[in-house]
């Protein structure tokens, strides 16, 4: 049985293909450390992230979900992240409104050159989630392993 084991959060990071995913790559080549608890999902653009994706991540057991995209103004598709910005603001605000800890969700703009920022963001986010503990308020009990 797992008793008193350190809590390892599951974190899902949606990274846009053009900036943040490259940023994560750079973090890797630069040997910047960030926790292995972060699972990266590559999306063509931050705008591709449907609110359903975020909820689905929580359903499947994520304890925190972070979305990374190009800095506003730098979107590969010119305006994608502007839409994403509004969308995520609304969604996160709604999650907070329903009493789901807002700290579990975050948006961060990471460019292809910001490997260090990527690592730092992930470290910090993971620490936050660790502090919050397991996601209990938006979990799907059926998906929990007994």
């Amino acid at each position: 049985m797992q008793v008193n084991q350190e809590f390892r959060p599951k974190i899902v990071a949606f990274c846009c293909n053009w900036c943040s995913y490259a940023g994560a790559d750079l973090a890797g080549t630069n040997r910047s450390n960030y926790p292995a608890d972060v699972k990266i999902i590559r999306v063509p653009c931050s705008c591709r992230v449907n609110p359903l994706f975020i909820l689905r991540a929580f359903q499947r057991g994520a304890d925190g979900v972070i979305m990374c995209g190009c800095h506003p103004g730098d979107c590969h598709y010119t305006t994608g992240n502007y839409y994403a910005r509004r969308r995520m603001t609304m969604l996160f605000s709604m999650l907070d409104y329903l009493g789901i800890e807002k700290e579990r969700t975050r948006v961060e703009w990471v460019s292809a050159a910001e490997g260090a920022k990527f690592a730092a963001t992930m470290n910090e986010f993971t620490a936050t989630i660790k502090g919050l503990g397991e996601n209990k308020r938006l979990e799907d009990l059926r998906c929990k392993t007994q």
């Binding site: 499947r60 057991g61 059926r142 998906c143 392993t145």
Partner: protein, 342 residues
């Protein structure tokens, strides 16, 4: 017959709840406008609302029920039977209409092949009914031969200003009443006055003269081909409110859910009002809302009686009259179709 003062009713609940789960209607929802069945707790107040928003069928045919679990491993499949023997439970305050709905569900689920999920719950449930002190304008159970003053169930109860009378109808009910020390003996006709008062009100109900003459298995084609279905169904939103609050709606869907560590097969209520109800790979046999709408009422008023010796699949609880977003309901359907069709 037994009796207990209303002030001792709580003690009575506590005594039942000490040995098994007890559910009773309590006020619920925004501004406490509705009522729901809830597990009894210390301080729970029995709601005398004429009916709960959801029906008592939930206890035997819950909205969602896990059926089987599958473990998948390459080409191998393992079936896990997750059925468990249900615990005994008591439902208090079931109205005559809901009590009659169990017979309708029984004829579906307990006919061969028996549905063991339903049977399991049915065998472990004890039903305590309550006569309707204050039936309301949407009640029309008498149309289907149900007497709200004489509800069925394992134990029937009548409530007056200060006393609750209890009459056991089955051995199971007898045993439960015998186990409650706070009950006193009462004359067998002690509740007659209450019954008479109820019948007086029932006699004044606006829907009591609703006619079922135009319906039944033998009227199948005539009703099916009626041109009135179009206007009846034109405003239907295709939601499932009527089916989900209905005590006799019994259709279900079987679905699989991938939990990530196996497949869970569950069944859930389904509604013939939904567009995917009859959707097959090759198309849909009911493509318009009129057809789906017609199916629901034909099932209750024609198909069900045809297969069950003329018993209608409606108990007149009036829930759909209160809940339908556009106020279309079985009463309007019966009146419209019945016109000139007696």
């Amino acid at each position: 017959m037994k009796k207990v003062s209303r002030s001792s009713l709580d003690a009575c609940f506590a005594a039942i709840a000490a040995s098994q789960k007890l559910y009773l209607p309590v006020a619920d929802g925004e501004k406490k406008r509705g009522a729901k069945y809830a597990p009894w707790f210390e301080g729970a107040v029995y709601s005398t609302a004429v009916n709960t928003v959801r029906s008592a069928k939930d206890f035997f045919f819950p909205q969602v029920e896990k059926m089987t679990r599958f473990k998948m491993d390459g080409k191998q499949i393992e079936v896990e039977d997750i059925r468990k023997e249900n615990e005994d439970f008591v439902i208090f305050g079931v109205r005559a209409c809901d009590a009659a709905s169990f017979a309708i569900l029984d004829s579906v689920y307990l006919s061969d092949p028996v549905d063991s999920f339903y049977q399991n719950r049915r065998e472990h449930g004890l039903i305590m009914t309550m006569a309707c002190g204050k039936p309301t304008e949407t009640c029309f159970c008498s149309v289907f031969g149900i007497d709200a003053a004489e509800p069925a169930g394992d134990i029937s109860c009548w409530m007056t200003e200060d006393t609750v009378y209890m009459q056991a109808n089955t051995e199971k009910g007898e045993a439960l009443l015998a186990s409650l020390p706070m009950l006193e003996d009462a004359a067998d006709d002690a509740a007659e006055e209450t019954k008479a008062a109820i019948r007086q009100v029932l006699d004044k109900l606006p829907l009591k003269d609703l006619s079922t003459d135009a319906f039944g298995g033998d009227k199948l084609m005539k009703l099916f081909d009626s041109d009135k279905w179009n206007s009846l169904s034109e405003a239907c939103l295709a939601c499932g409110t009527c089916t989900f609050v209905c005590p006799t709606c019994q259709c279900y869907d079987i679905r699989d859910y991938d939990t990530g560590h196996g497949i869970e097969r569950f069944r859930c209520w389904d509604s013939c009002m939904y567009s995917d109800f009859t959707l097959c790979a090759h198309g849909n046999t009911r493509t318009t809302q009129m057809q789906r709408f017609r199916q629901r009422f034909m099932h209750k008023l024609v198909y069900y009686p045809s297969n069950n010796n003329g018993t209608f699949g409606c108990v007149g609880c009036g829930r759909c009259l209160k809940s339908c977003p556009i106020s279309m309901n079985i009463v309007k359907v019966m009146k419209t179709l019945g016109e000139g069709n007696e």
